[in-house]
């Protein structure tokens, strides 16, 4: 086919038009920053991104209704703010996207603190403990990080465990999966020798399948959970921190932790 002379001009025009349109749209959202708390109070509704595939933090019963530690904390938030709670079920990879695009006010989904995440979202103070560890078959001779060299570990992509493993056991062969369950399935089916998950998840797993050969190998860290929210919302953040501090003081947080994790929340970093 013959090229037409006016084609480059058209392209430029289209690009210019697109750019103008997008920047106009972008400006319209900037004006909303800093009003998140007002917005929640006015709309009488708190939209919280919660996990539904992460027991005991968030999972479903036979009626497919979410329950768990994160859901209880979400309920506490809504109650203290005096608004109705709307749960937004999310997956680990898209929980921050829900926040950034304004489709959720908070994310309470066992979110740990990482420097990368801190660049794009703000955190409250911690609301629950979270121990990460590497698990494997009882017979597997692994006792330290160094023992993991050359052995395969499954881990959920973008999770805290992923980061910790990469930092602390760079010699291990990490296989990354999209969600927690895929990581566990990979281990159970023998695709990987070990799996890096939260200790509470492993406990739930063991409770469901008492015969399962899964033993703790190496503790990675205590990476507490924080509530995530959009940047530049100081009023909202102060309010949330105030609610958490109060819940800590009156024992509500300990009670929630006791109910789901079998131990009180204990000392949590601010």
């Amino acid at each position: 086919m013959k090229a037409r002379l006016c084609k480059p001009m058209r392209k430029t025009l289209v690009a210019a038009g697109l750019f103008a349109g997008l920047s106009a749209l972008f400006c319209s959202t900037l004006t909303q920053a800093g009003e998140a708390l007002d917005h929640i109070i006015k709309s009488k509704e708190l939209r919280v991104a919660v996990p539904v595939d992460y027991p005991p933090y968030g999972y479903v019963g036979p009626d497919m209704v979410p329950q768990g530690l994160d859901i209880d904390v979400a309920n506490l938030m809504a109650k203290q703010l005096g608004v109705k709670l709307q749960l937004v079920p999310v997956t680990a990879p898209n929980r921050v996207a829900y926040l950034q695009s304004g489709k959720a006010d908070f994310t309470i989904s066992s979110l740990g603190k990482t420097p990368e995440r801190e660049k794009v979202i703000d955190y409250s103070i911690a609301y629950s403990p979270f121990f990460d560890a590497v698990f494997g078959k009882t017979a597997l001779p692994v006792k330290t990080m160094a023992d993991m060299a050359g052995k395969t570990v499954s881990v959920t992509r973008g999770s805290m465990q992923d980061r910790e493993l990469t930092d602390m056991a760079p010699e291990a062969i990490t296989k990354r999966f999209e969600d927690n369950n895929s990581s566990i399935s990979a281990f159970l089916s023998g695709q990987t020798q070990m799996v890096a998950i939260g200790t509470t998840v492993a406990a739930a797993l063991k409770q469901k399948n008492p015969n399962m050969d899964i033993a703790l190998k190496v503790v990675l860290s205590n990476a507490p959970n924080y509530i995530g929210m959009n940047k530049n919302e100081p009023e909202l953040r102060n309010k949330v921190n105030e609610i958490i501090r109060q819940a800590k003081a009156d024992g509500t947080l300990d009670a929630i932790s006791q109910k789901w994790l079998g131990a009180p929340a204990g000392e949590l970093p601010e």
Binding site: Y59, P62, M64, S101, Q207
Partner: protein, 214 residues
């Protein structure tokens, strides 16, 4: 922790199947209509229009549906354009399916020998008459197998809508697995349910092909 009975699992998966079926239908109907329009425009339009449609097809064939869904649902609202998950999924599936279907159908129409067009126009048939009486009946036969093949792909592709919050069969399976820790049983059931949706489609396409061949 609650116990899931077999019935709970089956019921929840079947309820989730409604989304798989519904989203597939949206893709078939929306994609089919838009795809047909694109084929006609591509066959009759000016060169500029043809190029534009070609670009459209390349863009939607060349980018993953997962990212299209993500960009339309989350991306647009970052620019202040609110879309619901259903609207975003409908837009993406329609655009995605129309790009593939228009390309499949264009190939089918173009596979008809040029002599057929010439013979038809020598009978003084208009373009629409040529299409209606000469080209389409032949193209239809050639088009059934690839069209149904693509439809089966779309049924499975609806699983990607879980990224924007749909709880369709795959996602429901994931969620239930995470509460029951029985991945092999539940994913196995989900796979069988997909098969139960797709196999009749393939079977019907074979029948249709046979009946058109006679």
């Amino acid at each position: 922790m609650y116990e899931f009975t077999l019935w709970d699992i089956a019921r929840n998966l079947l309820l989730a199947m409604r989304w798989t079926v519904g989203l597939s239908l949206i893709a078939f109907i929306g994609g089919g209509l838009l795809g047909a329009l694109l084929v006609v425009l591509r066959l009759t339009g000016t060169r500029f229009l043809r190029r534009l449609i070609m670009l459209y097809v390349q863009v939607f064939q060349g980018t993953p549906l997962l990212l299209q869904l993500f960009l339309v649902y989350f991306g647009l609202s970052m620019f202040g354009l609110e879309t619901t998950a259903l609207v975003a999924a409908s837009i993406c599936l329609t655009l995605y399916a129309s790009a593939y279907l228009s390309e499949i159908w264009r190939g089918c129409v173009e596979s008809i020998d040029n002599g057929q067009w010439e013979a038809a126009s020598s009978l003084a048939l208009s373009f629409s008459e040529q299409m209606r009486y000469v080209i389409l009946p032949q193209a239809l036969r050639a088009g059934i197998a690839p069209t149904v093949g693509f439809m089966v792909q779309v049924v499975k592709a609806t699983a990607l809508t879980s990224v924007i919050g749909f709880v369709e069969m795959t996602r429901a399976g994931q969620i239930i697995t995470n509460a029951t820790f029985q991945p092999f049983f539940i994913y196995g059931s989900v796979a069988l349910m997909y098969f139960a949706l797709c196999f009749p489609l393939s079977l019907y396409s074979r029948r249709l092909e046979h009946s058109l061949r006679r």
